[in-house]
Amino acid sequence: METMVTRSYMSRREAEQQSFNLLATVLVPAVAILLQVLLPRISPRLAIVDLPLIVTLFFAVSRRNPIAGTATGAVIGLLQDLLSGMPAGVNGMAKSVVGYAAASLGSRIDVENTATRAVLTFCFSLLQSVLLYLIQRHLLEIHGFHVLWLHELLRAIVNLLVAVPVYLLLDRWKRQD
């Protein structure tokens, strides 16, 4: 007896799209922002790590949905702005673009590989620095605003180093659709 095999054709994005339960979706960004506020109290040098960016990238790349990536980036960035005393929208806009770009890229390349994730984190960290510079210098017209590019390069490296173990930890929260 011949067995009928049902086959459906799905895109790579649909096949690998992952989701998270509500608790993880709310709790992980909240904890990242809270740690971002508290860690510099232990050592001011820890402020160089951008945990909200790492979390934005993780969710955007895992979901592979640009709309979800944009929304996640916007919410996390706005919360960061509200707590840092900066005008609401500076980090929000930068992280929206980062979330969108990361999700778009995530649907095209294999982002499960640790090396790829590290390179993505490095590149998107630099992209965020450029976006923040453009927003503050040209949109807000803050005269005399400068970016220390060596510092931003160092930040990208530190984010890369922190992101790899954080991604491995957060992978446990994933739910394959």
Binding site: I33, L34, Q36, V37, L38, P40, R41, P44, A47, I48, P52, P66, I67, T70, A71, A74, L78, L79, Q80, D81, L82, L83, S84, G85, M86, P87, A88, G89, V90, N91, G92, M93, S96, V97, Y100, S104, L132, I135, L139, L140, I142, G144, F145, H146, V147, L148, H151
Partner: protein, 393 residues
């Protein structure tokens, strides 16, 4: 419709960016529009966000303090006994030193009273504990555990025993955000302690503190202390700000110098702060009069600095004259009668150049010799060549 479906991702991103750009525009339109509904709404959302995070910050602070206290007070007690003995010896030595210092302090108070200079501009303060920082290293923000319930208001000065810290920005009922002096958006009026040059202090992107509105001046040197000038209406006058660390040309504002300041307070390790909630000058007319008198004195000092200095040899002569001035006795106290200092260019109006009234004859021509004669009469003729260059100095 197909267009929307096809480009829904990009359209969503554009919509989100546009909404945030509008929100930014509302916030940065300036203080004149701060009371508008849009700006007020964002301020409320900010306060709610701070309020939501505060319990966690308090919890972390309490946990950290608990762990630290347990460690320091109960576990890490090695060498505590030896340290205790050393401290007791130190206290004994300090008591001896204190007696000597107390005498100096009394003298200082007496002098202050004589000058009628009372530095009582800080009226009341509220002590607060730092419980959090800003969520971005581009902003230098502190969260403190006191808010509007404790009388805090925006723009109040925040200080520590070492120096100024910043000013209050957002105030929630139980907490407040403090913008530090090294934040890019902060500013403070300052004065250089010895040269009395005024400047504006600003934070930089690197989290440093700079004075950027002064042109090159040879009098400004590293190591000079910087104080608050009181001109910003936020910080009381005379509080320590820091020490000049480096002076270099400002590449962005070419005629001006970038004077880097090392803050007096360690801005990276602040545990407790004082918020100045009341200024004495607002309460007392007397204090305002004192301030005006002190400013007038300072203006006189600055004018005196700009005038040509007195030669050392003349100062010496003046000192000699003052010591040789006639003295009188009043009620057991010796009072020195003031005597005019010798003039550089004597003429017929100079003290001592006019003969006594008893020697004058009504209607007779003046017998006063011309000024040159007086000067030459007091000096040997061959000393004129050496005298003139001194006068020109």
């Amino acid at each position: 419709m197909e267009f929307v479906t096809r480009f829904k991702n990009a359209l969503f991103l554009i919509a989100v960016l546009l909404a945030q750009a509008i929100a930014l525009a509302v916030q940065v339109r300036g203080p004149a529009n701060a009371g508008e509904p849009g700006g007020e709404r964002i301020r409320l959302i900010r306060l709610w966000t701070i309020g939501a995070v505060t319990p966690f910050e308090r919890g972390a602070q309490a946990l950290g303090s608990g762990v630290r206290n347990t460690w320091y007070h109960y576990i890490d007690l090695r060498h505590a006994r030896q340290e205790n003995d050393a401290l007791k010896r130190q206290i004994a030595q300090m008591r001896i030193d204190e007696a000597a210092i107390a005498e100096d302090a009394l003298q200082g108070r007496r002098l202050q009273t004589m000058l009628q200079f009372r530095q009582r501009y800080v009226g009341s303060t509220v002590a607060a504990q730092v419980i959090g920082t800003g969520a971005s290293d581009q902003s230098h923000i502190l969260t403190i555990d006191k808010g509007s319930n404790d009388g805090l208001k925006p723009d109040m000065a925040v200080i520590s025993p070492d120096g100024i810290i910043g000013k209050v920005r957002e105030v929630a009922p139980g907490t407040a955000q403090v913008v530090e002096i090294n934040d890019q958006t902060s500013g403070a009026g300052v004065i250089l302690e010895s040269t009395r040059i005024r400047g504006i202090l600003r934070g930089t992107v690197a989290g440093r503190v700079q004075i950027g509105n002064l042109t090159a001046d040879s009098r400004i040197k590293p190591g000079e202390h910087v104080l608050t000038s009181g001109g910003d209406q936020v910080f009381p006058r005379g509080l320590p700000v820091g020490v000049i660390e480096k002076i270099e040309p400002d590449p962005d504002h070419q005629p001006y110098m970038a004077i880097s300041i090392k803050p007096a307070a360690d801005l990276n390790r602040i545990e407790e702060v004082l918020v100045i909630t009341g200024m004495q000058s607002e309460l007392s007319d007397q204090a305002q009069q004192d301030l005006a008198a002190a400013q007038a004195k300072r203006a006189a000092d600055m004018s005196a600095e700009k005038l040509p200095g007195i030669h050392d040899d003349e100062t010496g002569t003046a000192a000699q004259n003052s010591t040789s001035a006639p003295t009188g006795s009043t009620g057991g106290q010796t009072v020195k009668v003031p005597r005019p200092e010798p003039v550089i260019h004597p003429d017929r109006y100079s003290p001592g150049a006019t003969p006594p009234a008893t020697d004058l004859t009504p209607g007779a021509k003046s017998q006063t010799p011309p000024p040159n004669t007086v000067r030459n009469a007091t000096k040997p003729s061959n000393s004129k060549s050496t005298q003139e260059p001194q006068e020109l100095q």
